[in-house]
């Protein structure tokens, strides 16, 4: 271990090697941002459990292992068919835009959909001031790494008044857990294991006045190896605009994924997010909504199924910064085996945000005595005329429901699986996008009720 490189030096060294080849490397403003970000990381490293926001999230496994970008392995388009939706698609393989796998035909006027790298090439200064505006390197080590290293992502710009009739899908694929070997001599890691693969995606979504769009972010792994990804999505919603944002995580068993989404909301804008998490090892999703002008509204519906030794964390922070702002949050978790789920929901009603309205509900189902759920609702209210409600409950299956099903002839094990399905499927009723609802119901059914047809499962 003594010969092992400190993790901060590892990434600094990686940065020195890769910086000249990163997207937008020739742009002074971006190069300066990236340099500052890696310095930020070098000084602070990864968060530890001593940091209040990371008390329940142990990221030590990521801090003692080396990761480097995956080698570019060609992905067969057929392998992705099951993960696509009827949508305009930007596909990213191991953190890089894959044009041949993407589908951008028939985009209407008033919508620009490009990869981050391409946008930086085509209009070198268009993104200055946008990248890192809301999720900067100072946030934490993962955001710092992302800003330092992100090579690609999507840049979505929806012009004023445009209403998209189809969603835009950002499909992130982990293809190959084996790392790039270019620099193998430096790659001997603390545990003598090969470095895992790392990728960073950075999306920017700008929705102008009164425009409406839906974006699906989905994450899949084609191989089960050790991978580590960071993701940052910065969203700006102008007055009267609306974004529906779906997130579907079906990552690999040894995948760690730390994502941060920030939504900056203008007057009367509406942000509706639905997140379904079905697979991964260490997953953390942070969602910040800044309700910065009157009438802004955000809604978040989350469903997590975790088993094995997975840890799945959802951290939300909704800032009511202006009067008449609304937030709604509804989060459900099913935790089996030794899985652990953390829900931290912070709602801050600022002093001038009178007549704000916030509701939060978190329920967890524990299926094993070793599963654990930590629920941390945090309301901070600095205005006096507000409506805030929250509720949290964690429990096991309801014996009355179990008896009812068994009295109808269902085996006890079948009855239990069906109740777990029901708990999770209750969340599906909130998903307004039918194709996604069917996809998730199918995935839940395959896991919990093999043999059942979709028509029986879905309402």
């Amino acid at each position: 271990m003594s010969a092992a490189l400190d993790i901060r030096d590892w990434y600094r060294q990686e940065f020195a090697g890769s910086a000249p080849g990163l997207a937008g490397a020739g742009l002074p403003w971006l190069a300066a941002q990236r340099r500052a970000a890696i310095e930020q990381f070098a000084s602070r490293g990864f968060p530890t459990r001593k940091d209040e926001d990371w008390k329940y999230t142990d990221v030590a496994p990521l801090a003692v292992r080396y990761f480097r970008p995956a080698s570019a392995v060609p992905v067969d388009a057929a392998a992705l068919a099951a993960f696509r939706f009827d949508a305009w698609q930007l596909v990213f393989v191991d953190g890089r835009f894959a044009p041949a796998l993407s589908q951008l035909d028939g985009l209407p006027d008033g919508v620009r959909l490009t990869s981050l790298a391409a946008r930086l090439r085509e209009a070198p200064d268009a993104l200055e001031g946008w990248l890192g505006r809301h999720v900067g390197a100072a946030r934490h080590g993962f955001a710092a790494l992302n800003l330092a290293f992100a090579e690609d992502g999507a840049v979505i710009e929806i012009r004023r008044g445009v209403e998209l009739e189809k969603p835009i899908q950002l499909l992130s694929v982990s293809s190959d857990p084996a790392p790039r070997r270019a620099n193998a001599a430096a790659g001997s890691s603390p545990g003598a294991t090969e470095p895992g693969s790392i990728q960073h995606l950075r999306h920017l979504i700008l929705v102008e006045e009164s425009a409406h769009a839906a974006v699906i972010e989905s994450f899949v792994a084609l191989t089960p190896g050790a991978s580590f990804s960071t993701g940052v999505t910065e969203i700006d919603l102008a007055a009267g605009s609306e974004l529906t944002h779906y997130r579907l995580v079906q990552n690999g068993e040894d995948a760690s994924q730390i994502d941060t989404t920030h939504v900056q909301q203008g007057r009367d804008s509406r942000y509706v997010a639905h997140a379904v998490t079905l697979g991964g090892r260490l997953l953390r999703h942070e969602l910040d909504c800044a309700l910065a002008a009157e009438g802004a509204e955000c809604r978040f519906n989350g469903l997590t199924l975790a088993r094995g030794q997975a840890q799945v964390d959802t951290h939300t922070r909704f800032d009511h910064l202006a009067p008449h702002t609304t937030s709604r949050e509804w989060v459900r978790g099913v935790l089996d085996d030794e899985a652990r789920g953390v829900f931290s929901g912070r709602v801050v009603v600022h002093p001038n945000a009178q007549r704000s309205d916030a509701e939060q509900s978190n329920r967890n189902l524990l299926l094993s005595p070793r599963a654990e759920a930590d629920s941390r609702p945090q309301l901070e209210i600095y205005a006096d005329d507000v409506k805030c409600a929250h509720g949290a409950a964690t429990g096991s299956l309801d014996p009355d429901q179990l008896f009812y099903l068994r009295s109808r002839g269902l085996e006890a094990a079948h009855a239990r699986q069906l109740l777990v399905y029901g708990f999770a499927a209750d969340a599906l009723a909130r998903l307004p996008f039918e194709a996604l609802r069917r996809r998730v119901a199918g995935a839940l059914g395959a896991r919990l009720l093999p043999g059942a047809s979709l028509e029986e499962l879905i309402r």
Binding site: Q401, F403, L405, S407, R408, E456
Partner: protein, 249 residues
Amino acid sequence: MLSIKNLKVEVEGKAILNGIDLEVKAGEVHAIMGPNGSGKSTLAQVLAGREQFTVVDGTVSYDGQDLLALAPEERARRGLFLGFQYPVEIPGVSNVYLLKAAVNAARTARGEPELDAFDFLTLVRARLEIMDIPETFLYRAVNEDFSGGEKKRNEVLQLLLLEPRLAILDETDSGLDIDALKLVANGVNSLRAPDRAFILVTHYQRLLDYITPDRVHVLAGGRIVKSGDRALALELERRGYDWVKEEAA
């Protein structure tokens, strides 16, 4: 078919049933009446296998087998059905999934092949009509946001689909308007057969205007204190329960 001898049951250390004796033969309809808190629902649930009740004494034999030794699902598969007083809501689980799973569990137990989706729908549609339940109910979550009457009709729909050998209906008539009551009675009467028996647990005589029982029993203080024919039900309707309790004391 069913033979209950000296059945004593406790819940959390409190005696609820204090020695029930009851014989039900194939083809018979028995009504169990009694005031609130007399143990009627406990008896119904113990017969269906509810685990939170502790049987401290007595035996229950069903078709010559020790009923109390069987798991709830095993009882169901052998043709015992409980219509719940308070049907349980199960969010996220469609009614059609439960109905089909229940029918196929019963069929498998009888050595019959499982029904596919098409044959099942044919079977269920005919029974939906009898119960005047719209087909959209199939795709709603089990009992969720059903009115009281809809829940009870859904129980009888399950009864019609499962065609049990012994059906115990726990206050299926409570809270029903007269039209719904007739539907429920109609459903039950359509199933009456020489090889099938019913136990109707009820608080009111009204149901027995539509389903004629062979025997009527009065349960009070965890015991059957009086048995008779239909005339007993009418007398209870007229005089209430106090005289029976006094007579028994």
